[in-house]
Amino acid sequence: MSNPIKLAIGPILFYWSKDEVQNFYLQASDSPADIVYVGESVCSRRCQLRTSDWIGLAKDLAAAGKDVVLSALALAESEGDLIALRKLVAACAESGGRIRLEANDLGAVKVAAEAGVPFVCGPHLNVYNEATLAWFAAKGAVAWVPPLEAPRSLIAPLHASRPVGMATEVFAWGKIPLAFSARCFTARHYGLKKDDCQFRCLDHADGLTLATREGQSFLTMNGIQTMSAQHYSLLAELPALLDLGIDALRLSPQSKDFFAVLAAFDAARRGEPAGLPAACTDHGTCDGYWHGQAGIAKVGAEDDTLVVAASGA
């Protein structure tokens, strides 16, 4: 691999129609992305794609030469959720190491470890220190995504002292998944019960924005998940990420301009001028977490200017 850092397409966190999902992965298959995550990690009620459909997509992408990871639900509540998890792990086991699992809770770690399936510690597994990272490595973790709230000052030393064979993947683009709940906020907004949500998430391809009473965009409601309204962007930090030797960057899918964003990161990792399309965010970008500040803060330079400048250096 000649590229100094891999690009990963994270799991689709929103609820899209089956056609939209399939089109997205057709494009992903032809894109410069090295790693592609597939699967439903947010809400078990979402059923445009069944578990077997996700596994089929994973196989197709693996056949197209991508590193593929099946993402498990972050919030497993029912017996049905565990059955789906076991199917994902069985598909990983059958693939002979071609497909890995993204574990987002200890239950997924258990099922993967028992099956001898290598797994990625997802951002919701809460790896904040070296002892925990080493413990997951001993159970079969081959990569980890730091918690989204982790600053550079936490990520850098953990990456530097990571166990042998462990890859570090940093979330670098997208609305930040901030919280999970038993409650569905989208259903609640429409005055519906979760069990009868009428799949309203389908109407909000990038979630529903929540603003303060003085009009400041703040959060995004995505079913049972609460996200940032702003897009986290580490495009301007690419020189620093390369310098640290981070293995991969995760870009989180969105309905508009996603592959243009991917192209910008691809250009930037090769040191070429890169700019983001103007319409790729609805409420601007933030990078406070990376800098050890409030996540919503914007500390670094504007993405396009800094990356162009860095590439000339």
């Binding site: 258990k110 002892a131 999970f180 940032s228 996540g295």
Partner: protein, 344 residues
Amino acid sequence: MVSSTPTTTTSAFRIPHLVCPAGSLPALKSAVDNGADAVYLGFKNATNARNFAGLNFDDKSLREGVRYARDRGREVLVAINTYPQAGRLAEWHGAVDAAADLGATAVILADVGLLAYAAERHPALHRHLSVQGSATSYEAINFAQDAFGVRRAVLPRVLTLAQVENVVRHTTVEIEVFGFGSLCVMNEGRCWLSSYATGESPNTVGACSPAKYVRWEQQGKTMNARLNGILIDSYGEGEPAGYPTLCKGRFEVAGETGYALEEPTSLNVVELLPQIAAAGVAAIKVEGRQRSPAYVGQVTRVLRQAIDALKAPGFAVKPAWQSELAKVAEGHQVTLGAYDRPWR
């Protein structure tokens, strides 16, 4: 408000322990004096997910609290349930060592590295999996049992009663559930809303919507409550103002303004006690280490009576219990939270 008799024929039935909060020595004594089977508490530092200024325990007060509880046959559980931060493991290890040395019955932990440390260094000290550990399935809980000998797991406030029952059926780990207090609507241990607004979260520093970021601002007849500058709510004249915990603020979504995430409410499971006991739940936890000794005493006293009433056939909720609890409920509204269908 009369519930049915518990199904005492099922083998799972057990009278749950009552686990009560203590943010101070007087609160601990109040919990013990009013009938708590166990008191949970934490140190005055970032190892504690309820790291409130002016509250919590140092070695001296913990030693005294342990003596007070043990003399009366009660347990002390020490919550060391934030996530150790890279390069600072010694602080969290020190807290576990101190809890062991000072005679705690158990430590309540969330981080797997810390669980491994406690299991290795202090095998005789019981290990409970904290609610901050976000174990929502029996697979996760059984894993913690196999790996760290976890004796009890505290379930996140996201499961229905039927789901709680299913977890109990599939594990030999004792299950503890929340029974009363303010309600975290988010899955504990997996909520970064506070750090998104302020840079500080329960996982890292043990605080949600920390007081030092709160600003009250009078603007004409309106009182604005801000968290690190972000408007969480504003209150008109005469409207009772609440602490700006950010998930409990009023926001605007698609032109509608209201409690978009959660209204300020209290969880109260008193009417579900027969089902909880029948499900085989080992312990019921009261939230509120930030609350006063008087609050802790009042809630403990009522729940003690209600749990004791399970021992005789024909459990019925006494109106007096509910009116006592309603007096201290946040927002003066109560809910069964995720245990009940309306959340579904």
